[in-house]
C-alpha cells in the first residue's frame, strides 16, 4: 500500500515526500495520472473534431448548393503551395512522433532536436500560409463583405445583382438577349475597374448569360456586362434551375492564368461563398497551428529544464496527440479546397 497518507487535512497537500514531483496529490500513482491525462486529451480532440465538424458540414451544404462556385474558385488557390504545406505538416507529424519515442527511450537530446524540427515545420507552414493569404487579399479576395463593395467605392470590385439600381427589372426583357460581348461593354469593364487594373486587362468575349425574371433584377443593356446572375438560392428557396450558368469547363478554358479573379466577368456569382468558407476553415486551422507552436515551445522549455524522462513524459505525449490532429485536419482541408 503506497498511497495511504497519514497526514491530516491541516497539512493539505504539501507533504508528498513519497511521491514523484510530477504526481498531483489526488492520484494514487503515476500510471493512473498518465491514463487520466490521455483520456482527457482524447476527449478534447473529440471536441476539436466536432468544432471543425460544424465547418465541414457548412462546406458540404454550400458545395452542394453552389457546385459551380467551388469548381471555379478553387483554381485561384495555389496547389503547389498547398501541397508543399501538406508535406511540411506530414513531416512535422513524423518528427513529433519521433520525439515522443525519444522521450520514451530517455533520449533527451533527440527529443530536443525533434521538438525544434516540429516547431520549424509549424513555422514554415504559417509563413507559406501568410504568403497565400496576402496574395488573395492582393487579388481582392477578402473574407466577408469586401466582395460587395460597389464599383467606384472601391477600384476593382464588381457589383452583384443584389446591388443593382432600382428599376432595373423593367429592362429584363432586353437584357435576356443583350450582346454582352459588344465593344461598349468592354469599355464599361475598363471604366469599372478603374485605375487599379489598367489596360492590361485582356480582351475576351464575355459568355452570354441569361438572367431570368425570377431573380428579379437586371440592368439596362449598357450595364449588362457588369452584372452577373445570382447563383441558386438556399436549398428549398432557390430558383436555381432557371439560371443558365456557364459550364465549369468553359470557365476554365476562358480563364487566363494572369487574370485578376474579380475582373473575370464570366465568374459565377457568390464566389465569396467559397472563399469565406476557405478563410473560416483554414483560419481556424491556422489558429490551431499557432496554439500548437505555443505548446511545443512550452514542451521545449520543460525539456531544457530537464523535466522529462522515460519516467515522465505525459505532456510530450499529449502535445503530440494534439499536433497529429492539427495535421489530420489539414489533410482533409487540402483536397477539399485545392484539388476540386
Amino acid at each position: 500500500m503506497t498511497t495511504l497518507h497519514a497526514h491530516d487535512a491541516a497539512h493539505g497537500h504539501d507533504d508528498h515526500h513519497d511521491h514523484p514531483p510530477h504526481l498531483a496529490h489526488h492520484w494514487d500513482n503515476p500510471k493512473q495520472q498518465f491514463e487520466a491525462g490521455k483520456l482527457g486529451m482524447w476527449l478534447f480532440l473529440a471536441t476539436e473534431v466536432m468544432l471543425f465538424g460544424g465547418l465541414f458540414c457548412g462546406y458540404s451544404v454550400y458545395r452542394h448548393n453552389h457546385p459551380e462556385v467551388f469548381a471555379y474558385s478553387s483554381h485561384y488557390l495555389n496547389t503547389t503551395l498547398g501541397a508543399t504545406n501538406t508535406c511540411v505538416l506530414i513531416l512535422s507529424s513524423l518528427t513529433m512522433a519521433w520525439g515522443v519515442t525519444a522521450a520514451q527511450q530517455n533520449k533527451i537530446g533527440l527529443l530536443k532536436l525533434m521538438l525544434v524540427l516540429t516547431l520549424m515545420g509549424a513555422a514554415t507552414f504559417l509563413v507559406i500560409k501568410y504568403f497565400e493569404y496576402t496574395h488573395k487579399f492582393h487579388e481582392g479576395l477578402f473574407p466577408g463583405i469586401k466582395f460587395y463593395e460597389k464599383p467606384g467605392e472601391h477600384s476593382h470590385m464588381w457589383v452583384n445583382v443584389d446591388s443593382a439600381p432600382p428599376g432595373a427589372a423593367e429592362h429584363a426583357a432586353t437584357t435576356e438577349t443583350a450582346p454582352a460581348g459588344a465593344p461598349a461593354s468592354a469599355d464599361q469593364l475598363h471604366a469599372a475597374s478603374g485605375g487599379a487594373a489598367p489596360a492590361s486587362a485582356p480582351a475576351f468575349e464575355i459568355q452570354t448569360v441569361s438572367i431570368t425574371p425570377g431573380t428579379g433584377a437586371a440592368l439596362p443593356p449598357a450595364e449588362a456586362s457588369t452584372v452577373l446572375p445570382a447563383a441558386a438560392g438556399p436549398a428549398g428557396l432557390g430558383t436555381g434551375e432557371a439560371i443558365a450558368i456557364p459550364e465549369a469547363e468553359l470557365l476554365r478554358d476562358r480563364h487566363p492564368a494572369h487574370m485578376q479573379p474579380l475582373q473575370d466577368p464570366t465568374r459565377p456569382a457568390n464566389m465569396h461563398m467559397f472563399f469565406n468558407i476557405y478563410y473560416m476553415m483554414t483560419g481556424l486551422h491556422g489558429i490551431h497551428v499557432v496554439i500548437g507552436m505555443i505548446v511545443i515551445t512550452w514542451l521545449l522549455v520543460k525539456t531544457f529544464k530537464g523535466q522529462f524522462s522515460s519516467e515522465y513524459f505525459t505532456p510530450v505525449d499529449l502535445g503530440g496527440l494534439y499536433w497529429h490532429v492539427v495535421d489530420l485536419i489539414w489533410i482533409f482541408l487540402f483536397p477539399l479546397f485545392y484539388l476540386i
Binding site: 487535512a9 491541516a10 489526488h26 487520466a36 438560392g233 428549398g236 469565406n276
Partner: protein
Amino acid sequence: MTTLDISKPLHPTIGEDNYLTHTRGILSWLFTLDHKRIGVNYLVCVLTSFFFGGMFALLVRTELLTPGKTIVEQDAYNQFFTLHGAIMVFLVIIPSIPAALGNFVLPIMLGAKDVAFPRLNLMSWWLWVTGAVFFVGSLFTGGLDTGWTFYTPYSIDKGSAMGGAVSALMGVFILGFSSIFTGLNFIVTIHRLRPPGMTWFRMPLFLWAIYSTAILQVLATPVIGITVALLMFERTFGIGIFDPKLGGDPVLYQHFFWFYSHPAVYIMILPGMGIISELIAVHSHKHIFGYRFIAFSSVAIAIFSFLVWGHHMFTSGQSPLMNAMFSAITFSVAIPSAVKVFNWVATMYKGSISLNTPMLYAMAFLFIFSIGGLTGLHLGTLAVDIHLHDTYFVVAHFHYVMMGSALIAMIGGLHHWWPKMTGKMYNENLGRLACALVFIGFNVTFFTQFFLGTKGGTRRSWDYLPEFQVYHIISTIGSYILAIGFFLTAGYLIHSLFRGKKAPANPWGGRSLEWQCASPPPHDNFATTPTVGDCYDFSTVEWDEKQGTFVVHGEGQPSPAHSHH
C-alpha cells in the same frame, strides 16, 4: 487493505478544519483548486444570475398584465424576454447542476480527493465569469433583442437587431468552453477515480446522470461554439454563410443551433433526473427500484438527444420526410423518460417516506415533469405542432421541463446537500412552505399558458387581443407567488448560514459516500481512498439519537475490497 468502518466519520478532525476554514482570504477562493470551493463559487454565481433572470421574468409578466403598454415599450420588452431566456439558459440552468452541485458532490461521492484536473476546473469557472461579463457587455453595446436563439436573418441585420448581439455571442462561445471542460473533467474523473469496489453499477445514479450529461457537453457544445463564431463573423464581416442576401442559408443556422441546443435541453434535465433519483431513494429510505433501467435510460436519453433537433424546425420548410423522421424519434424519447418516472414512483411505493423539503421538491418534480413530458408529445405531433407552433403552449411546455423540472430538481438538490455544503441546517418548516409556494405559483403561472396557447396566444408578443387578458393576469399573479416562494427560500437559506443549527454528518440517512464524511467536508474529503458497497442499501442505516445523526451499522462492507494498488 483500505476497507474502513464507515459507521464513524472518516476524518478525525471534524470541527477543527474543513474546506471552508482551510485557508482564508478572498484570493484563496478565487484561485482555489479545491473542487468544493469551485462548486460554491459556481453556486454563488449561478444563484446571482438566477436572481437577475428572475427579475427579467417578473418584468415580462408585469408588462403583459394589460394589452399594449403596461410599463415599457416594445423594444424594452423585447430585451426583457431575450435577457430572461439567455441568462436562464446559458448562465443558470446549464451550469447549475453539473458545475455547481456536481463539482461539490461528484468527487466526494466517488471517495476521491478532487476531480481529475483541478486546474482545468478552476479555468472552467473563470471562463464562466468571463462569458458572463461578455453577456452583461451586450447591455452596454446596444442591447440584445434577438431572443435567446439568435435566429438569422434577424440577428445579422444590423438595421433592426440591437448591437449587443456580438458581445452576447462571444459570451455564449466562452461559456461553451466552460461547459466543455467541466464535462471533460467529470468523464475522466468518473473513469479514473472511482474507488475500489465501486463498479459502474454501484455508482450513485446521480453520477450516471452527470456522466451522460458530460458526454453531451463534450460532443454537442463545440457545435454551438463554431455556430456562434460563424454568426459573429457574419454580423461583423458579412461572410454570407447565413445571410440569404449573400446567397447563404438562414435555415442552416437553425440546424446548427438546434444540433447543440436540443442536446442542451438534456444537458439541463439529465442532471436534474440524477438528483431526483438520489432524493427519492434517500428520503423514502428504500432501495432504488430498477437501478440499471434508470442508469441506462440516462444514456439512452443522451443518445436520442442528438437525433431529434429537427423537431424545433417543423415549420421551417424542411422536407416532409425529415419532419416525419424527427417526429418519430422525438416520440421515442418518451420511453426512457417514462422508464425513469415509473421507477421513481415504484421506489416510493411502500417506502418510509420522510416529507423533508428535498423530498417535497422531488415530488413536485414528478408532477411537473410528467405534465412537461406529456405536452412534449403534443408538440412532437406534426399536425398539432402547426397549430401550437410559436404560441404560449410552447412556452408553457418548455417551462414545465426546464424551469419546473430542471430548476426544481436543482433547488431540491440544493436543499438536500445544503447541510453538507455549509454545515448548517435550514428551517424545515419554512422550507416546506416555500416549496408549496413555488409549486402553486409555478402551476398557476404556466398551466394557464397551455390554455392561452391553444386559443392562439402568440409567444414573444408585447401586445395581444383583449380576450387573452384574463389568462395573462392569472399567469402574472402566479409568477408573483413563485417569486415570493423563491425570496422566502433565499431568506431562510441565508439566515441558516448565520443562525442555522449545526448539521450532522448524515441528516437524511443517505448511504452514498458524501454522507460518510463530516459536514462540511474536510479539505481532502477522505484521508484514505474508501471502499464502498451498495449505496442504495438503507437497511443498515439508523437514526442515532445521541449523536443526532444517521449512522450506518455493521462493520465494513460485504464487498471484498480488492485493492487496486
